[in-house]
Amino acid sequence: MTLRTYIIARVLLTIPMIFILLTTVFLVMRVLPGDPVQLHFEKMASPAVVAAMKAQLGLDKPLWVQYFNYLAGLFRGDLGKSMQDYSPVASQIFSAFPATLELAICSMTIAILVGLFLGVESSKAYNKPKDHVIRVFGIVSYTIPVFFLGMILQLIFGVWLHWLPVGGRFDPTIESPSGLTIGSFHFSTGLYTIDSLLGGDVYKFVVTLKYLLLPSLTLGLVLCGVFIRLTRTNMFETLRLDFVTAAKARGLKETTVTYGYALRNAFLPVLTMMGLQFALLLGGAVLTETTFSWPGLGRYLIDRINFRDYTAIQGVVVVFGIFVSIVSLAVDLLYAYLDPRIRL
């Protein structure tokens, strides 16, 4: 089939997928042993209190009405109200989102950079000791629980060396980066790295990096194993291609040949793998944010779980699900564009 047909089909496919996801989450939340509100109070509240909360949250209506309201609300961007204080879940998620985004981008960047570099070195020293060491590193890094690695790094760099902060996203004693303000025009992304630069505050930029370093390093190292392996295999094949040998025969420098010639071709699969790793990234983010008290969606989720705030949990899971669907759609489309064989 043609690219166009595939794109349309794939996009259309996403709609029922998201729909199934939303419905599943809805049903699961109401199929809990007991109902969400009672579980929230751990069955210790009086019926009056339970009824009051149900009314506030619209959980006293018949199931199909709730379902309809749920879907309608999603279209409007309304994810329900928190059981803690009835504030809108959507805005809570919205404010926690940039922190996770920043962590995700930095971690993925580190994972790719480390993965590419080590993968290249590994392929060049094929089957020699250096190669084995790097491969073992890749396997071990994947096997380390991300929170364990995080704690070890916290221990070394935070507690023993006092070089880096142990947790949090920014120095609590100073104002967080606020972005660009010209007169009454204000623009901020929520990403402290960018916002501090927009505001021209280099000191805050440095502070941001200090807090960002350990969490993203932790998550990045755990993710890089896959990229090491992928790059190594691809580079090994690419380095055998004719134009690489021809380049070597012209006496071009090693680095030119490796990075300018071979890597360009090996890079593409890395790009698509990035998308596939996204799910792992989210899972890892939950654990990393908990370890480093990073105020993102992951920590928000755990928070809400501890508080037994089921409406908020439902909201987060929905957001996660939609996120993943969109990313996997993007990855599939990108892959189809780049590799015509997949569309068949």
Binding site: L13, M17, I20, L21, V28, V31, L32, P33, Y126, N127, K128, I139, V140, Y142, T143, I144, P145, V146, F147, F148, M151, I152, Q154, L155, V159, W160, V166, A279, L280, L281, L282, G283, G284, V286, L287, T290, T291, L301, I302, I305, N306, I313, V317, F320, G321, V324, S325, S328
Partner: protein, 289 residues
């Protein structure tokens, strides 16, 4: 029995690096399993006993792994702490295979709408972050060994499904399968006698990876507080506990349990790597001298 193991080992070793990986991984895993099984007899102290020593003692000759904040001996806790995790891992892999393998076989062999539909669901589950899914299911089911195993199992069923499916799809069209069908064999027979044996090696490889992942996911769930509630020594629990103690620099409370988790998962991973290499040797790779 031992005499039949040795020739097996020797043939594995002959296969080069991959064989050694399998041996090493198996030994590592086996050692940990054995240690856990005999822990009641070999741990120097009762792992749950409080104040066996002063709290937060650094490793010493008396307490090689130190003590935690309520004076429990870390060495004993490390020796005995694998039980829950192993139970969860074994149970979840078992359930996973029980559900995933037949599902994969049946769906991909049948083909058509059934296959499309099943694949769709499996792909959606597969794409979803495993940990979050496990968290959600544990929320629904509640805590406990069985529930945790079930939630982890659900996360990994798609892995089996996909691997089996790709294998079956390539075997399905082969002449000897067609011949069996033409001779009127029942679908079940074809699947179990012809298809399954060929798919078996891949299942084994996926299973080892599954084990490793199950252990890591179980550790993760415990870390965020969704672990098993019973007061047994557990490495994951020690990590959560140790987190509070981090600012005091008591590294031994997390280092040793964490190391054990890594070793256990590593054992399975190495076995998986080795097996995968043995069963699907990579083309064009030379055994470097």
């Amino acid at each position: 029995m031992l005499s039949s193991i040795f020739p097996g080992l020797r043939s594995l070793a002959k296969r080069g690096l991959a064989g050694w990986l399998v041996i090493f991984g198996a030994v590592l895993t086996g050692a940990i399993v054995v240690m856990t099984l005999v822990s009641p007899w070999i741990s120097p102290h009762d792992p749950s006993a409080l104040n066996v020593g002063h709290p937060l003692l650094a490793p010493s000759s008396q307490f090689p792994f130190g003590t935690d904040d309520v004076g429990r001996d870390m060495l004993s806790r490390v020796i005995s702490g694998g039980g829950t995790m192993l139970q969860v891992a074994v149970l979840s892999v078992f359930v996973c295979m029980l559900v995933g393998v037949p599902l994969g076989l049946f769906s991909s062999y049948t083909g058509g709408l059934v296959d499309r539909f099943a694949s769709l669901i499996m792909d959606s589950v597969y794409a979803f972050p495993g940990l979050v899914l496990a968290i959600a299911i544990t929320l629904v089911l509640g805590r406990g060994v069985i529930n945790m195993s079930l939630s982890i199992a659900v996360v990994y069923i798609p892995s089996y499904f996909r691997v089996i499916r790709s294998q079956v799809l390539s075997i399905k069209e082969l002449p000897y399968v067609e011949a069996a069908n033409a001779a009127g064999a029942k679908k079940g027979t074809v699947l179990s006698r012809y298809v399954l044996p060929n798919v078996l090696p891949s299942i084994v490889v996926v299973a080892t990876v599954n084990f490793a992942d199950a252990i890591l996911t179980a550790a993760g769930l415990t870390f965020i507080g969704m672990g098993v509630l019973v007061n047994v020594p557990d490495w994951g629990w020690d990590l959560t506990n140790g987190r509070r103690l981090l600012p005091s620099g008591s590294w031994w409370v997390i280092a040793f349990p964490g190391l054990m988790i890594i070793l256990l998962a590593l054992g399975f991973t190495l076995m998986g790597e080795g097996l995968s290499e043995l069963l699907n040797p990579r083309l064009g790779e030379e055994g470097g001298k």
